[in-house]
Symmetry: none
DNA sequence: TCACTTCATATAGCGTTGCTATAGGTGCTA
DNA sequence: TAGCACCTATAGCAACGCTATATGAAGTGA
């Protein structure tokens, strides 16, 4: 029932809290559950952490170490913007594998006591974007870019967490990611300079036609034909 | 102390909850506070709303009406992407003027009970983006674009709410907004459907797609499929 | 007019929550 | 041995969301 009896109560509390936080599916975790699993009584918790939130903050810092470790782990690829992409993906992955921890870190927004976590994550991103800035690859100040990208990153992750598991579409993440990175980057080669300008105009036209068809309920095609037609359009327009 | 004694308890509960929710600075609002302010007792609340969350949901729907009203209020400018910008700004403004309501609507994410609000907001955005798609102004399907933009919009708003009032920088919002819109937009209509005459945009799009398909030798469809596809396109585009 | 149902509200209280006043035990230093 | 921190436990408070039960009001049919 209770934890490793060898370890000091402070550690047992931390582990118990982390475990319960990780296994409870979003529902709140009570101090009584934690202290029971840790094999201690209530005052011990408050002696060491002052607060339920204090305990959670401690858990979060531990979780954040893990997060930061993940963000730093890969060797810089020499391509800063590519590293930013990996940081983004790592962020989303962290949020999806540890949603409860993530919600405490980024979702549970209390005014005034804004967790320093967010600032730290921002700094991490900014650092990488700074390299991109030095390489002349972005067209906005790194700090602003970092804030903007992180905001979008958090928004996407929260949205994915909120979605039922079966229809979680990670494309939302990659698409938003690339949109944000593209927007701050200097490579203005917007299809006009790329060799697939013809293909991209196919995509644009297909999307436009798709939308127009659905809006106008065209009666030029039978419903079954229309269905197949739209499916093909989708195939074309979703391959970019 | 208590509310308008004339009004029915249900209304008084709604107003009391809304007022407390609006004035409590992020700290949770208890049912006892609400019922006391409304001048009723606990069972009345549960009779009408079943649940604390049910009451909050009701408050939120009222708030959402307001939100939607704000999103629809301005006349379409004829420039869909400009309207999307206004929807974004309106979203942020709503979040900042009613942060508590906003947190209940978008921030307080519980798995599986995802508020339909998010889906509704998504639909609203998608509707506008659909117009942009018809006008050939975006290069991703409207649904995906809507999800992506909304995610970023929520992320930005949450980040702004979490920030202390004095150093809230709205530029984060405009920058992220324009980044997202820029990333999904085609900037140059590129010969695709220009909405010069409303319904005929279907025809214009079909013609453009037809030309583009033949020019690019798309391999997304088999040759026989392509043949049929082009025939249908012809049928559509040749109908006035 | 009188039962009968239905809706709406109140009384009282259950179980759980975060947290604490108080006291006792333990080990270290003097 | 005495004193002093440090750490933990007993017991319990106030507040929480919620409900079993009862009471009143209003309408309905005989």
């Amino acid at each position: 029932m209770s934890f490793d009896d060898q370890l000091p109560p402070k550690t047992r509390l931390l582990r118990a809290a982390a475990e319960l936080l990780a296994n409870s599916d979003g529902s709140p975790v009570s101090t009584r559950q934690i202290t029971k699993l840790a094999g201690v009584t209530a005052p011990t918790l408050y002696h060491h952490f002052g607060d339920k939130e204090g305990l959670f903050d401690a858990v979060v810092s531990a979780g954040f170490e893990e997060y930061v470790a993940g963000e730093r782990d890969f060797a810089p690829s020499g391509e800063p913007l590519e590293d930013v992409r990996r940081m983004w993906d790592n962020h989303v992955k962290f949020g999806l594998t540890q949603p409860h921890l993530y919600l405490v870190m980024f979702g549970n927004i209390r005014p005034e006591s804004r967790p320093s976590i967010v600032a730290d994550a921002e700094a991490l991103l900014e650092e990488m974007l700074n390299k991109a800035a030095i390489a002349g690859q972005i067209n906005v100040p790194p700090r602003e870019a970092a804030r903007s990208i992180l905001a979008a990153n958090v928004g996407v992750t929260l949205m994915l967490i909120a979605e039922p598991l079966e229809d979680r579409n990670l494309e939302l993440s990659t698409m938003t990611r690339d949109s944000m990175i593209f927007a701050v980057s200097t490579e203005t080669a917007r299809g006009a300079a790329t060799d697939d300008s013809g293909k991209s105009s196919v995509v644009v036209a297909a999307i436009a036609l798709n939308a127009a068809l659905q809006a106008s309920h065209s009666d030029q095609l039978s419903s079954s034909e229309l269905k197949l037609f739209l499916e093909w359009l989708h195939r074309i327009s979703s391959s970019s």
